[in-house]
């Protein structure tokens, strides 16, 4: 009995190790900390990047910046705003940041049987909304847009907020699971759900300027490869992947 259990356990472990074997990575990988909203575009770019293997860490930009302040050293930091890399640069923790992409804030709703079809619906009592938490860029863009609705309307929309999610992954999950009627996302996140969600465009008067900043981390283990990675996002395969995912060229 005990022998059989040991055999089963060994079989499971062997399979698991074999399954992970190929992904075991060494110290030579380029490590890129990037905003959750860049997941699809940068993963695709990473596969075609000719400067070596790339290891990505996707999370809320604010979490990644906090890690860098706490002493974590990826090679590259790509943020969904410009203020986080700017502040890290002022603190001497990253090199001079450059803007490499733009994006658009939209209202995201389930593709089928959506309860919300306009901005006015967001203010109706009973509508449930998910937004990014205040600290993460998607959350501050969202608050800026809602603020521009003006006094009572923006208060009515904010009163319908049911969850402050730490990054866009959480927002997409809440929307695709039908936990909320609507949420504020980047248009690229909606595209990435391949049809599960639908975007409602914001009028220009509400649209905040969404700009993505990137910087090489001070004391990066692979500064040369990191520079090449950044350069490819400005002009090259990375830029192509960003456009394919629906990102705008850097706003001027």
């Amino acid at each position: 009995m005990r022998k059989r259990a040991a055999a089963v356990l060994a079989a499971i472990l062997t399979t698991a190790v074999a399954a992970c074997g190929s992904s075991a990575s060494g110290d030579e990988d380029l490590v890129v900390s990037a905003a959750s909203s860049l997941t699809q575009a940068l993963t695709a770019y990473g596969r075609s990047f000719d400067g070596g293997a790339v290891r990505f860490q996707f999370a809320g930009s604010d979490e990644l910046a906090a890690q860098i302040r706490a002493g974590v050293k990826p090679d590259v930091f790509a943020s969904a705003n410009t203020s986080l890399p700017d502040r890290l640069h002022e603190a001497g923790l990253v090199g001079r940041p450059v803007v490499f992409a733009g994006n658009r804030l939209v209202i995201a709703v389930p593709a089928e049987a959506a309860k919300v079809s306009s901005i006015a619906d967001l203010a109706k009592p009973g509508t449930t909304i998910a937004v990014g938490s205040e600290e993460v860029p998607i959350g501050s863009y969202t608050r800026a847009a809602i603020g521009r609705l003006g006094g009572t309307r923006s208060a009515a929309v904010l009163a319908n907020v049911r969850s402050n999610e730490p990054d866009v992954k959480g927002l997409v999950g809440k929307l695709t699971q039908g936990a909320v009627d609507a949420g504020f996302l980047y248009v690229t996140d909606v595209t990435a759900t391949s049809g599960k969600l639908r975007a409602i465009e914001l009028p220009t008067s509400l649209q905040p300027s969404v700009a993505y900043g990137i910087a090489v981390v001070a004391g990066a283990k692979h500064p040369a490869a990191a520079q090449r990675f950044v350069a490819g996002l400005l002009h090259g395969k990375g830029a192509d992947q960003l456009r394919a995912a629906g990102f705008d060229p850097p706003p001027t």
């Binding site: 979490e63 993460v136 959480g170 999950g173 039908g178």
Partner: protein, 264 residues
Amino acid sequence: MSRPGWFGALLALALAAALTFLTLPVLAIFIHSSPRELLESLGDPSARDALRLSIATTTVAIAVIVLVGTPAAYLLATRAFRGRALVVTLVELPLVLPPAVAGIGLLAALGPNGLLGDALDDAGLELVLQTAGVVVALIFVAAPFHLRAAQAAFGAVDPRWIEASRTLGAGEARTFARVAVPAALPGLGAGLALAWGRALGEFGATLMFAGSFRGITQTAPLAIYAEFAVDFDGALALSAVLVAISAALLLSTKLLARDALARA
């Protein structure tokens, strides 16, 4: 050197390594934040809301776990039936589930698009993004801790006591309440403390199933995570408070159970 001496030294070394490794992060939290910072962090209204919500939701979850879990564990510990081992494994499964899996599972089962989504909706029950959803997530991840400990505690009660109680004419329910529960109390208390600690620390399943909203679903661990990005010191201070509360719970439950046993 005699063999027990050599082995004894090895045991002591292993314990020293375990103790150092397991206490170092907790120690670091307290070294980082002075008592004054701790008090100041409690002055932050969002931190107070989070702690209040954590205490309220874990209390309700633990009450449900104890009321339902204790008799269920008694049955598992005292009756032999076909498929018992399978049932035990199934109810203990959440112990080894990653919190993210627990969150996805809860959404797939009880979310608006989940298995029971329509049924819940018809009954007018809303769980997702509600305080009730937090309680459901806490019960799911914490109940197995109590079930497991309670089963072991009931299993260790001398069957002759139970037999004697029945022979003396006490009914099944009376035997459970007057003999089995008092005798198993220290083990039940330990299980309760573990389940409570696990519930207080719950993060992933809560975030995925119940979301994060101040005063409604943002428990202390979620507030720590939100704070971490903007104010590392504030997050540390709130962490320290949570550690202190958890430690106090663990200690007082153990002491209570010991006292109860001494009186019994």
